[in-house]
């Protein structure tokens, strides 16, 4: 019985090792293709890795470069933004700015009111999982304090601290649910493709958007999906034009 267990554990470990090395081999191959200026092949390989579920700030960064070189600005911006969400760096910012400059008709974002900005800054401090871990950690600390108090009443822990941690737990859970709501119902995305027809909600006229613009998903509609442009306009596009960001 115990021998079977050991063997199965070994197989599992080996399997994960193979999987890991495969990811790195592909990444190195793609980098090599990139340096040989075979940007198309490189971008295909990076994309395959992304599709397979590999995720790393550098993977997205490199993929963004390959797309930039092949003039797929929408996908390049998507990759840079993904990389930025995982690990922001000067390089990504620069490349993203360069890619943004190449959007044919960029739409400038209308700056929201300060409290909306603060609100966004706070909840986007952590990802869903970040907030989840944050609130769980606060909960552990608070409970630990309560345990100690219960077991040894002589330890002087102010109930204020304990309550603060409990409160932070609740705040964490609150922001986590906000982010989950957005993840599910109001996520961001990048427009991809040529000739994206956008039917404005207020005026029923149709305009054409260029790829690379970051939009917010606002819900489903009969004709497609409702999105919000950076300048606040809302309208409907075909769902195939939007690549989900988070």
């Amino acid at each position: 019985m115990s021998r079977i267990k050991i063997i199965s554990i070994l197989i599992f470990l080996f399997g994960t090792l193979i999987a890991k090395s495969e990811g790195n081999i592909m990444f190195e191959k793609a980098n090599q293709l990139y340096h040989n200026k075979l940007y198309d092949s490189a971008s295909n390989l990076y994309q395959q890795m992304i599709n397979d579920g590999y995720a790393h700030a550098e993977l997205f960064y490199n993929a963004g470069n390959a797309y930039y070189r092949t003039n797929q600005i929408g996908r390049a911006i998507w990759c840079y933004r993904k990389s930025q969400l995982l690990n922001d760096s000067k390089y990504v910012q620069d490349n993203l700015a360069l890619a943004n400059k190449r959007i044919k008709q960029p739409i400038l974002s209308s700056s929201p009111i300060f409290f909306i900005r603060w609100w966004r800054a706070i909840y986007s401090l952590f990802s869903i999982n970040g907030w989840a871990i944050f609130s769980l950690s606060c909960f552990f600390i608070a409970l630990g304090m309560l345990f100690l108090k219960k077991i040894k009443s002589s330890i002087g822990i102010s109930s204020l601290i304990t309550n603060t941690f409990l409160g932070m737990t609740l705040i964490g859970l609150f922001f986590m649910s906000v982010r989950m709501y957005q993840h599910q119902y109001q996520y961001r995305g990048i427009l991809i493709g040529e000739g994206i027809s956008f039917t404005s909600n207020t005026k029923s006229e149709s305009i054409e958007l260029n790829e690379g613009i970051e939009v917010i998903y606002k819900g489903k509609q009969k004709q497609g999906i409702l999105i919000e442009l950076p300048d606040g306009r809302k309208g409907v596009i075909n769902p195939s034009y939007m690549l989900k960001l988070d």
């Binding site: 190195e28 790393h56 960064y61 390089y91 620069d94 989840a132 552990f140």
Partner: protein
């Protein structure tokens, strides 16, 4: 138009009428008129300084409609002054057939002078309509017959117009013979032909010739091409097609305005030569290039002798003989009664130059420096910088000026290798080309504006400019000096540093990194996450519950004991009553004492070990039991103890103690519960 012949004849006459003698000539506007047509007749009086009167004889065949209108002209030729008075009458014929226009009579210095009679033919109807048609088609009119063919927007039309103007200037140039000046604009006289040129011979007397200074050149080397119009005829020529200079960059030279005809002997004949166009050509491609033909259209005027029967009373007039003699003396048909006059004929002509082919050789590849960018000629370069001490807010400018001769226009912009942290703007290029001489010369200037992004010291390296010298057949490289810049931070330095973007994207990160699959599941979706909350919470609740139970248990034993104390006490008292019945005195008192003390111990939670009168008293005090009950209690316990050590108190006493103890426990029970 009817004046033309008149003027022609007048013109011809002029050259021969240099004598100071007074003379009068009758000049009809036409030799053939309709009976309905008014026609002009001019009486030209020369040197009539002293003329007193002019009169016409009686005319029965002619009617004077208008006149005389008078014009006077002074001409100076070789120091001799000639005065010409021209009197113009408008006549109308009264009959058809041969009509004689009689000569006018001038009285000068008391002498009468009569001009010649001229016979004209008068026909029925009118010749005016025909003439007016001809007038419309008059090539010498101000109206250009070709103007309608070319729209204003056509660039070629502009060129055309220019050419036309030039030709008109030429025309005027030719008219600057003294006699012509008095003529009305449409009366353009032509130069006198020294010989008669037949219609078939026009091509030999009017043509366009292309002169090329070189026929084999290097790419970019200058070729000078000139288009010349050779003529021995009066003409009005407009260029209709300029050669398309495919494969060349061309630069026209300025030609004198108006163009001056030059006399040139060609094939043994003297020609008037007009330079229509002189162009410097710089080939931009190699191989055999062809300069297409230049084409021109217009009208050439040839003269035709015409014999007219004429009464000539001045047959031996020296004027008349000298007038016609030079040309007609050998004419066997010439005699006194027949006068040969000239008619003209305007012949439309189309001229075409011969195409010229030019061989263009490529610039040698051997030893060609990498900086070579197509410049051919002979150049010098100057460079200049406006400031070397600047801040990050400033814009500085480096200027290059390439001066010299050659294909200036085709010089590419020299590339300055600016350091990375300097932002550059597109260079401004301007050129100034002078084309007055036979060489295209001038300068081309390049302005490079730049602004440093960050403070520090920078070096702008020297720049090479290479050109090919076609004479020496070698490349020459000129070098500009390098400049060192000292850049201080400006006011907007931080901002500019933030806004600074690299020219191209940063390279990919090729370091080996561990890339792993990341599950895209979110934590809150997993029950384990919520288990993380639930488990400690449950544990905590468990702890609380356990603690509570334990506390309860502790408090329960007390209660139990309390509750059972009474029962135990009563049981002991029952035992005591049994002893009472059997009259065993010491057992009875012992049992009673135990009942009381154990009751107290249970009730007041005093451990048996520390049970004493003092502790009991203290506890009872805490429980606020009345002092009477306390003293009662202690009386009973004392009694019991006394009875233990001093027995035989009698059964009555035992009964008394028993009932007292019973009552005491009941009272304590009431007080404590």
């Amino acid at each position: 138009m009817k004046y033309i012949l008149t003027s022609l004849i007048v013109l011809f006459s002029v050259g021969y009428l240099l004598a100071q003698d007074v003379s009068v000539t009758t000049v009809p506007a036409a030799r053939k008129v309709g009976i309905q047509d008014p026609f002009e007749v001019q009486y030209v009086i020369r040197n009539a300084r002293n003329a007193q009167s002019f009169s016409l004889p009686q005319m029965k065949d002619l009617q004077v409609l208008d006149g005389p209108s008078r014009s006077t002209q002074m001409i100076e030729v070789n120091g001799h002054r000639t005065m010409i008075v021209q009197l113009t009458y408008v006549f109308k014929a009264r009959k058809t057939g041969q009509v004689v226009i009689p000569g006018g009579v001038v009285v000068s210095d008391g002498r009468e002078l009569k001009s010649n009679n001229v016979t004209i033919e008068v026909i029925n109807g009118s010749v005016m309509s025909r003439q007016s048609r001809r007038q419309q088609a008059d090539p010498f009119g101000d109206e250009d017959p070709f103007a309608d063919l070319f729209g204003d927007e056509d660039p070629f039309a502009a060129m055309q117009k220019h050419q036309q103007q030039m030709m008109q200037m030429m025309q005027r140039q030719m008219q600057q013979s003294p006699m012509a000046q008095r003529m009305q604009p449409q009366q353009r006289a032509q130069q006198q032909p020294s010989e008669l040129i037949s219609r078939n011979d026009i091509a030999n007397n009017l043509f366009i010739k292309v002169n090329v200074d070189k026929r084999s050149v290097m790419l970019g080397e200058q070729i000078t091409v000139s288009y010349k119009l050779y003529t021995r005829l009066p003409m009005e020529i407009n260029l209709t097609k300029l050669p398309s200079l495919n494969g060349f960059w061309s630069q026209d030279f300025k030609l004198p305005q108006p163009p001056k005809p030059v006399k040139e002997i060609y094939n043994g004949k003297e020609f008037q030569v007009f330079e229509i166009k002189r162009t410097a050509l710089f080939p931009t491609q190699t191989g055999t290039l062809e300069l297409d033909a230049a084409e021109a259209e217009g009208i050439a005027r040839i003269l035709k002798p015409k014999r007219v029967r004429q009464e000539n009373p001045f047959g031996d007039d020296p004027f008349a003989s000298s007038f016609f003699g030079s040309m007609m003396m050998n004419d066997p048909a010439f005699n006194d009664s027949y006068l040969t006059t000239y008619d003209y004929e305007d012949i439309p002509v189309k001229l075409k130059s011969m195409p010229v082919s030019i061989t263009v050789n490529d610039i040698p590849v051997a030893n060609r420096p990498s900086t070579y960018d197509g410049a051919v000629g002979n150049y010098t370069i100057e460079s200049n910088i406006d400031k070397t001490e600047l801040t990050t807010d400033d814009v500085a400018t480096i200027s290059f000026k390439i001066t010299g001769t050659g294909n200036l226009k085709m010089i590419g912009t020299p590339v300055i290798r600016f350091p990375e942290d300097i932002d550059t703007y597109d260079p401004k290029v301007s050129d100034t080309i002078t084309n007055t001489n036979d060489i295209i010369a001038g300068y081309k200037s390049f302005l490079y504006s730049f602004t440093p992004r960050i403070p520090g010291a920078f070096t702008i390296p020297s720049t090479d400019f290479t050109y090919f010298d076609p004479n020496l057949k070698e490349f020459k490289t000129l070098t500009t000096p390098s400049y060192t810049l000292h850049v201080k931070p400006g006011k907007n330095e931080n901002q500019s540093a933030q806004n600074r973007l690299p020219k191209d994207i940063h390279d990919i990160n090729a370091t080996a990194i561990k890339i792993e699959k990341v599950s895209r599941s979110i934590l809150p979706a997993s029950p384990f996450y919520w288990g993380g909350f639930a488990l400690p919470l449950l544990a905590y609740i468990g702890l609380i519950a356990y603690r509570k139970k334990e506390d309860e248990l502790v408090s329960n034993t007390v209660l139990f004991k309390n509750k059972r104390a009474n029962k135990i006490a009563l049981k002991r008292l029952e035992q005591a009553s049994n002893y009472l019945k059997s009259s065993s005195q010491s057992e009875f008192f012992e049992e009673t004492s135990k009942a009381v003390w154990l009751y107290l111990s249970d009730k007041l939670t005093i451990p048996l070990s520390s049970l004493s009168k003092e502790v009991a008293a203290q506890k009872m005090k805490e429980k606020s039991i009345s002092s009477e009950l306390q003293s009662e209690l202690f009386r009973i316990t004392d009694e019991c103890e006394m009875a233990l050590y001093a027995p035989d108190r009698g059964t009555m006493k035992m009964h008394q103690t028993y009932s007292d103890a019973f009552k005491l426990i009941g009272k304590l029970e009431d007080e404590l519960s």
